[in-house]
Symmetry: none
Subunit: 191 residues, 4 copies
DNA sequence: TAATAAACGAGACGGTACGTCTAGTCTTCCG
DNA sequence: CGGAAGACTAGACGTACCGTCTCGTTTATTA
């Protein structure tokens, strides 16, 4: 169904706006990104931006959303460690790319902007967590993970180290980080 | 012996400046915090701020540093799980307090300000990590932790979930989070 | 026919800006006059001032221009002494009024600001000198003034004393100064 | 009598201060001249400047005073036109030199600073006018100038054109301007 | 010769204004 | 009649100087 990218349509220059916002976010950072700068680069009136987005953070988020790979179905091979490792490896390699920089900056901006934080969680984190939670629940059902731990606790143990690396260390990941994290964490949740 | 307040001197109104910066950071967030606002509240010329600090982020960081408890020696009771739990519980209760909000906002600002990120890591993260690393190393020596894992990997597994909770979830911690995290993580590193 | 207030348009609050600038120039002098003060009084953003004027001196000059009487045609009665006296008397009475103070201050500022000096000469001095020069030339043609003297030399002799009084003496004029100056000067240029 | 340059002595670096002030006045103009700039160039504390002078204008005036030739006695040859022409020629050649620029700028500053205007008149204008007035009075006594005109009126007629040229025209003088002015003016005052 | 006081350099301080930049709103005018 | 263009009020930015105010340090008497 050839529907719009999002309800409420959008400006004619939507893609060029998001491209410009994304590029400037990577080049200069989110707080050097300005509505004026985007408007000037795209050749669009500022009003057009404000008509469709409430803040530069939201524009950057939209730009990021379109660039984040969205394999909606979590892999299932029967081996939860293998499945989680596969998915986390994909996440890690994205975090090591420009997309990771953009995500890091938007997550930072979200610390000062509740509306942005909401959308960030709802649109980016939520679906991915849901997808993973489903896989964890299934692993619990299959007896691969101890039922004494809530799936969200397991998720936090799994992905917490990634955010620590991204936001606190601000260093790239080691090649086998995903694998080592998953095996270490899941070992501690074996029944 | 009439020594200075701190090595390297500083402005006459240092404490009042840090107080104001800290309070405004909590009230309005770091990007609503302004040099002009601080100067006006304290009754100080802007030049005095710029003479001693390069940016509002650095002021906020100094304010935070003075407010973060700094128990320099890591507890040692023989039981590494107990010791780490004790220390992490203290950290968690700080993260749940206003100090945690300030830290969260400064860490966010550090994503766009490399100099701030440097000082953040060097002065806040570094010493605490070093202290914890010492304790981990000792536990490895005593055979409580498998030597196959680097201490920094263990540290990342232990504290990653805290940053995830703070920055991504933005929700308070559960009462026994520290204990559950530590026991879960350390179990996976048992020799 | 809905023409603009003046060619080249201008800010919406032009008149209120010039009023404020003029009043503050008289009250406090040109170097106590500030862009911020004008903006604050008028309730206008500073950018609006800088968008339309390059400096406070230019604003003050515009304000003065609008307040200087501009009888464009020099009187002609056949008697050059009478005509010049009539016109100079008008000038003198203006110089004795607040307009004279403003002019004195702007002329002073023009000593340090070449662009201001240019406009001052081009818009204020130039047209008036041209008008007077025409009258002098006619008087030369009619044999009332010796052709051996250039009109600009005559003009300098006529109006020099006024500036001396205004800028060096800084004292008001005597009631018949214009008449005495004109008669004295023109006597020396009789053929 | 080996007295000081002026009562109340002065700062140790007086000459270097005046040199710096004079040079900077010529280079950048009086309102780009700053106390800080002088202090920095001379290597003197700001307090030393404020201890001895109330404003930068006063420093510049002192510097100018020391550089203005001060032939205290007006020439007397019996021919008033020749004497005045001789003296005015000297003035004109000074006004065409850097000293003239400095004087022009200080006179401009005096328009906004009554104290400076006072000293300017008292120390620079006053003595020279007194000296000239004496010569005029003598010429009146000798029947070379009509007694119907006050000496100060004559003086204003003589020197007014110079200030007009300096401040309004801001152009150099013609070589024989002094001679032409004097002859023209004195002709009009012949008995 | 020692003390004492003044002038000094240095520069921090509370301020004001600068000229620029961006935010977010409002208006004009063109396609 | 929707959007580009951009003027508008507002206010923070970081800098430059203002004039005042300590700080030690010379420098020059005066005791």
């Amino acid at each position: 169904m050839g529907q719009d990218k999002r309800s409420g349509a959008g400006p004619r220059s939507r893609d060029r706006i998001l491209d410009a916002a994304y590029r400037q976010t990577l080049e200069k950072g989110l707080d050097k990104l300005t509505m004026e700068g985007i408007a000037a680069e795209v050749g669009v009136g500022k009003q057009t931006l404000y008509r469709w987005w409430p803040s530069k953070g939201m524009i950057a988020l939209d730009a990021l959303v379109e660039r984040l790979s969205s394999s909606q179905t979590f892999p299932y091979s029967g081996d939860v460690a293998a499945d989680v490792t596969r998915q986390m490896s994909a996440v890690v390699s994205q975090l090591d790319s420009p997309v990771g920089t953009a995500l890091r900056r938007i997550l930072a901006a979200a610390q000062e902007d509740p509306a942005l934080a909401d959308r960030f969680r709802r649109e980016l984190i939520g679906p991915r967590v849901d997808s993973l939670r489903g896989r964890i629940v299934r692993a619990v059902d299959e007896g691969q993970i101890d039922a004494a731990y809530s799936p969200d606790f397991v998720i936090r143990q799994l992905y917490g180290p990634l955010y620590y690396q991204l936001l606190v260390r601000q260093e790239p990941f080691a090649p086998d980080d995903a694998e080592r994290i998953v095996s270490s964490v899941l070992r501690s949740f074996r029944p």
